[in-house]
């Protein structure tokens, strides 16, 4: 476990920082970067050619050795996940890309899809070779229509160039992609729900086991990863596992696309080695908060917030440290909450999101996240809450945790619990005074 005191200072990076060379995000924002010619001229598909020259198992081992952990939120080691695939037995195998980025606070995948679609295609090709899957599925959320168009064009280009299809890149390996567009359901970010959605079913999560490696898309062996994970795999293969493993902290290796939103000077995506501190990210890269802040959500709205303090700012953003502080790294989507935002209002906003996105399959989520909890928040915000209501809400979220079918109810309950833990006084003020400690903000940029 890394501690800021013990580990050597890591370089901060930014495309403006001469000490570091951005990798995943090198081409985002560059006009024309989505084309094959641009990508090829910047070393594109060399990693794929290299991978196709290796044994599939060697590619898996390389990714294992790199210490890459899934960038979709849960942080499961990618190489290990790939090695779960059953032995090749003649059945069709699938590699699936989860491009259904919908977690509030996360927006890194969209830019990758829009500006560097070939990087994803190359990553999936490498992963496909590694697990011997000949069909890749890219599930793009329905709202990312621009990204969908760019990706569709990139796939056509790649097909025309022999990068997809029969015998890719001159090898014996066949690989093609199916591009599938979602239609607005956060739950599709859950891997099995995504598979149901892809199959043309209601996107309810499936029972596990069987895990996707045994029975995934169409009941066939499948592996599913996040967009960023696939892109990282490209560079791992290109530069070697050691390069990747050298970056980051003990349990979190490599580069990470951190996103900063909320009232900061320069919100956006920053590619930094794992384990950068909040201070580096928020104060230095993003230019610091534009108004006094009181809390940080470290990795998308489902991760428990941390109070704004010097101690918090000095925490390295990696899986272990966040877990130690009873939060999660999630997708690395940092949201800064300003002092003047009522925390009850802010968390009503978060709960409303989960209420809207609950699939309705299981009871605690359908009745808790989607029905009762938002109603309780409405009651509080209307100034009609009581202290019993606060106790009831705490009891309710306690029972929503760990009882639901999939993590969505937890994703709703955990941040609410944390908001109670750190900002209970704001809830109590609202109950006692009948109005919020901080009046609702009505400002909007002119």
């Amino acid at each position: 476990m890394s501690d800021t005191a013990s580990s050597a200072p890591k370089p901060i990076t930014s495309r403006f920082d001469p000490r570091f060379e951005p990798t995943l995000y090198a081409h985002v924002g560059v006009p024309g970067s989505h084309t094959l010619s641009y990508y090829r001229s910047h070393g594109g598909y060399e990693a794929a050619s290299k991978a196709l020259g290796l044994e599939p198992k060697a590619v898996v081992d390389e990714v294992k050795a790199s210490g890459l952990r899934g960038r979709g939120g849960a942080g499961f080691p990618t190489g290990v996940k790939w090695s779960f695939m059953p032995p090749v037995d003649g059945r069709q195998r699938f590699i699936v890309c989860n491009a259904d980025e919908s977690e509030p606070g996360s927006f890194k995948d969209r830019y990758l899809l829009e500006d560097d679609p070939h990087q994803l295609i190359e990553g999936m090709l490498i992963a496909g070779w590694a697990i011997q899957a000949t069909i890749g599925v890219v599930y793009v959320r329905g709202e990312y229509y621009h990204a969908y168009g760019r990706l569709a064009a990139a796939i056509d280009e790649a097909r025309a160039a022999g990068i997809l299809g029969r015998g890719v890149l001159g090898s014996e390996f066949d690989f093609d992609l199916i591009l599938h567009r979602g239609a607005g359901a956060y739950i599709c970010g859950e891997e099995t729900a995504l598979m149901n959605s892809f199959e043309g079913l209601r996107a309810n999560p499936r029972l596990k086991p069987p895990f996707p490696a045994q029975a995934g898309v169409y009941g066939l062996p499948s592996t599913i990863n996040n967009v960023e994970s696939f892109c990282a795999a490209v560079h791992i293969v290109a530069r070697g596992a050691a390069w990747h493993a050298a970056m980051g902290t003990d349990d979190s290796k490599g580069m990470k696309l951190y996103q900063v939103s909320g009232p900061v000077a320069r919100p956006g995506v920053y590619e930094v080695p794992m384990g950068a501190t909040f201070r580096e990210l928020i104060m230095e890269l993003a230019g610091g908060p534009s108004e006094p802040a009181k809390a940080i959500i470290p990795g998308g709205s489902s991760t428990p917030l941390l109070p704004w303090s010097d101690a918090t700012l000095d925490l390295p953003m990696d899986y272990g440290t966040m877990a130690k502080h009873r939060s999660m790294l999630g997708t690395g989507g940092v949201i800064v909450i300003p002092e003047r935002k009522c925390i009850v209002d802010a968390y009503y906003n978060v709960v409303r999101f989960y209420a809207h996105e609950s699939c309705g399959k299981c009871t605690p989520c359908r009745e808790g996240s989607a029905t009762w909890l938002p109603k309780m928040y409405q009651k509080l915000l209307a100034g009609q809450g009581t202290h019993e209501d606060l106790a009831l809400m705490e009891d309710m979220v306690k029972h929503m945790r760990g009882t639901a079918f999939c993590p969505l109810a937890d994703a709703c309950a955990m941040p609410v619990q944390a908001s109670f833990e750190h900002f209970r006084h704001e809830y109590e003020h609202l109950v006692d005074q009948g109005e919020s400690l901080y009046p609702r903000r009505r400002e909007w940029a002119a």
Partner: protein, 194 residues
């Protein structure tokens, strides 16, 4: 048991689009024919701005399903519409990051300006207003999605300009915003990307 005859329906949507239909069906393996359900719904919706019950039945017929199944899937997702939306379907994200950037006020502004409430379409069928959840544009909040296109960092003046443009049916191309280090308009991006 009773197999009642369906009532005479309107011309099938895919009657004159067989090529497009087979292109969509061909994307998926034979055993995964049902996967074409969502693309077919998109196809209809893009053309007709909603998916009517007759189209649901048609898609069910194409895929060999019961209409109920298609309806069950369609209604699960937030972006398929049962009733036609306006020519400009304005979708305002009000989730946390956008809300912190003033999306609630943006929403109020649109309600006042267009005299619409959430979920309504104006009588001319030009504008529909809908509040949606996170669109993945948190760094460039607030965001207004018009049909399939994102307009980001929508300030009051930008919003006005957009509305005026839409009233004149001259919707501009969106400027692609990136934020952070990847701003396309950043002064020295070429040097940085090297």
């Amino acid at each position: 048991m009773s197999s009642r005859q369906p009532l005479p329906t309107v011309t099938p949507f895919f009657a004159d689009k067989q090529e497009r239909l087979s292109e969509i069906l061909a994307r998926y393996p034979e055993y995964g024919r049902r996967s074409a359900l969502m693309p077919l719904l998109w196809e209809v919706q893009r053309a007709e701005r909603h998916v009517s019950e007759a189209r649901v039945e048609e898609i069910a017929e194409i895929l060999g399903l019961h209409a109920t199944e298609v309806k069950g899937v369609m209604s699960f997702y937030g972006t398929y519409h049962e009733h036609p939306v306006g020519r400009y379907h304005l979708q305002v994200c009000r989730t946390l990051s956008c809300s912190l950037a003033g999306a609630d006020t943006l929403a109020d502004f649109l309600e006042d300006e267009l005299d619409l409430v959430n979920g309504e379409t104006d009588p001319e069928g030009r504008f529909s207003l809908q509040y949606v959840e996170c669109l993945g544009s948190c760094g460039t909040a607030p965001v207004l999605q018009v049909n399939d296109t994102y307009f980001e960092r929508v300030s009051r003046s930008r919003c006005r300009a957009l509305l005026d443009a839409m009233r004149r049916d001259t919707l501009p191309e969106p400027t692609l915003e990136r934020g952070g280090d990847n701003e396309p308009n950043a002064p020295d991006q070429e040097g940085g990307a090297a």
